[in-house]
């Protein structure tokens, strides 16, 4: 558990930035499907958050507050990007797919494309659960919604991915009681570097 954050304090906001940048970048990448767009959205989200930081209420979790701002920023970006979709598709025709192994890269691109085609909050919950390792209760607390809502979103994501990527993406019911409660990667000390 991190120390308390003081609204308006620059050092605390810098700490918030360091602790949340990686998670937000990956989450927004899943929503937007574009790495540079995700970086732009994360930066824009932090600018918005910085402007609202003096009015932040310390009784709320700053991570959740920041997550909401970031997801809303990504949703706005997707709306704007939808208008450019046709032009973007035409521009990308014939361009070779970047990556070490073309087959692997195609698979990874398929995964990202499939996730980013989900509704933004559904995609965010899917990444928080299966990539960052939060459980449903933590996601619900982070987003200020009920666990039931989170469960419904995850089921929607799995069904849609199973339809696009294969039935194994529907997942499997955990056999033992210990499964399904994961420790977030940020708390395990695992770094992405």
């Amino acid at each position: 558990m991190s120390a308390a954050f003081r609204p308006g304090d620059r050092d605390d906001f810098d700490r918030l930035y360091r602790e949340n940048y990686a998670r937000l970048l990956r989450t927004l990448y899943a929503i937007t499907g574009d790495a540079s767009a995700a970086e732009d959205c994360v930066q824009e989200a932090f600018v918005r958050a910085w402007r609202a930081w003096p009015r932040f209420r310390p009784d709320a979790a700053p991570e959740g507050w920041l997550h909401q701002i970031a997801v809303n920023t990504a949703i706005s970006h997707r709306r704007r990007a939808r208008l450019r979709t046709v032009g973007e598709i035409l521009r990308r025709i014939g361009r070779p797919v970047a990556g070490r192994d073309p087959a692997e890269a195609a698979t990874q691109a398929e995964i990202v494309n499939a996730i980013s085609s989900l509704p933004p909050r559904v995609a965010a919950d899917f990444v928080l659960r299966y990539h960052h390792g939060y459980n449903n209760r933590e996601i619900a607390r982070l987003e200020g919604v009920s666990e039931r809502t989170v469960g419904a979103r995850l089921a929607q994501a799995r069904d849609e991915l199973a339809r696009r990527l294969g039935p194994e993406w529907r997942g499997e019911v955990p056999t033992s009681s210990g499964q399904g409660v994961l420790i977030p990667r940020e708390q395990t000390g695992v770094t992405d570097a």
């Binding site: 620059r10 906001f13 810098d14 930035y17 360091r18 940048y21 990686a22 970048l25 990956r26 990448y29 899943a30 790495a35 995700a38 970086e39 930066q43 824009e44 932090f46 600018v47 958050a49 910085w50 990556g99 698979t107 990874q108 691109a109 995964i111 990202v112 990444v127 299966y130 990539h131 449903n136 039931r148 469960g151 419904a152 995850l154 089921a155 799995r158 194994e168 993406w169 529907r170 997942g171 499997e172 019911v173 955990p174 499964q179 399904g180 992405d192 570097a193």
Partner: protein, 161 residues
């Protein structure tokens, strides 16, 4: 809604897709856009500067308008003084009766001087001996007309006579 888990190999593929697609190049907080925006756009200074400019302009206007009023007041006062001073001009020389009247009201000692001329009694003698009696009449003449300086010598010869 049953809570399901993804198989481990799918989780790994998911992580590989997200991490390779969005390599983590986390800029330092000082290089983040919010830090740049915070240093580049000092909104309070802009507001303060505009407020100061408005306040300065208002102060200049107030100073000009405020100076106008005393000037008018001074001009009006001078006009009044000149006007009031110009009113007695048609009668610049007050009648001796009025002057004598004033003397009678304010210095009874001066009345004794004409009486001294008519009566041989020696009572006015001290007044004759005291030339200071004439200055006592001068202020009375000043209070009466406001231009007593012009007529102040008038009572003084009277005791001499």
């Amino acid at each position: 809604m049953p809570d399901r888990e993804l198989p481990e190999h799918l989780r790994q593929r998911l992580s590989a897709a997200l991490e390779s697609g969005a390599p983590l190049v986390s800029p330092l907080p000082a290089q983040a856009e919010y830090a740049i925006a915070a240093t580049e756009v000092p909104e309070p200074n802009v507001r303060l500067r505009s407020f100061a400019a408005v306040a300065l302009a208002a102060a200049v206007v107030l100073a000009l308008v405020g100076l106008q009023q005393p000037r008018d007041w001074i001009v009006r006062s001078v006009d009044n003084i000149t006007h009031s001073a110009g009113v007695p001009e048609p009668t610049p020389t007050p009648s001796p009766t009025s002057q004598a009247g004033t003397v009678v009201h304010e210095s009874p000692e001066a009345t004794a001087s004409p009486a001294a001329k008519e009566s041989p009694r020696p009572t006015p003698s001290p007044e004759h001996e005291q030339p200071q009696a004439s200055p006592t009449a001068e202020p009375s003449g000043d209070d009466g007309d406001g231009d007593g300086d012009d007529h102040s010598p008038a009572p003084s010869p009277s005791p001499d006579k």
